[in-house]
Symmetry: C2
Subunit: 215 residues, 2 copies
Amino acid sequence: MTTAHHAPGETRPGGRTARTRKAVLTAVFEELGENGFGGLTMEKVARRSGIHLATVYRRWRCIEGLICELLTEVGSEVPLPDSGTLSGDLRALARSIAALYGEGRVRRLIEAVVSAAARDGQVASVLRTFFDERLALAGRMVQRAVDRGELPANTDPVQMMSALGAPFYYRILIARRPVDRDLADSAATAVRAAAHAGAYTKRDGGPGNGTSPGG
Amino acid sequence: MTTAHHAPGETRPGGRTARTRKAVLTAVFEELGENGFGGLTMEKVARRSGIHLATVYRRWRCIEGLICELLTEVGSEVPLPDSGTLSGDLRALARSIAALYGEGRVRRLIEAVVSAAARDGQVASVLRTFFDERLALAGRMVQRAVDRGELPANTDPVQMMSALGAPFYYRILIARRPVDRDLADSAATAVRAAAHAGAYTKRDGGPGNGTSPGG
């Protein structure tokens, strides 16, 4: 998983470049957990990570670049289940999201990325690509359910997986309250019932509803 | 979308104070539409509105204060339907939200408020209070549906109305794609089916799921 800020020097995953990256991303994550996005600066990240400020600037250029790379890293850690049933898959995925997003520093990372995207078109583009990729991967569980006859054949995976994720972002960004397992189970139950009711039907054979990766 | 309504504590609704407020909020809305939140400053708002910078600072103190007041104004304009049926109410409300949030400058206002909340605890508190109040008002349609026997008696209005809103914020903040009427109809269909499937059931007689206004 790479980002627009991927550095050309990153050719030795186990080497010094990888260690620098890990130290810097860990420092960003810890700063977010302790102080949030408001006071986050390249200087603080350099100090905490023990990496030279010039190196941090050369490699990531700005705090937004760091935030994007951390999101890609952390978000990719959510496992995509294959339990054999749709309800099992939905519940497992929703609970994994809840476990991750229940962490204060992950909430703050989400806030930071959304804030940065509001101010910076390049960040917005990275954010959109990241979620498109994740949705495409998660959508496989919808296709498997269609293949097993558990969902209508014209169910749109992107719409359905977007609907599974939406309550978590609402809780973090709008309601501003804790993410918990109850939210996960509610989201899984909701999206399954809604899919059966035809809420996520493909339109005109296309992916529909403006959520197409090319839209 | 106008900004003609007056604030609580506004002693002369038609007077100079009201005109100042209207000019300033209109200028903020126009700046958001043209240039987004990234470059928004008190100076630009003062210049555009024709109101003295000192007056703008004295009354709102910071750009975040202005953004919050504009959200309250614009968000309160979404009508709360009472069509006689749950599906009619859900669809009408979702379509009203879609019509409002389909405007570029309203998207940017949402982005601006969420960004400001991520950096500033006072904004976060205003945002939370605003959405709590709106959810409580919108929740009346859930209670009416329960009274008519259209929904299980233990349906939680706050959970259900949060779920109706969530896809719009996801579309704007995460998917970063246009809000349209298809999204509204999908959200209305989804939330109704999910409510029938028990996704928004009150827990232990309380409002549940961490969405309680007091939580």
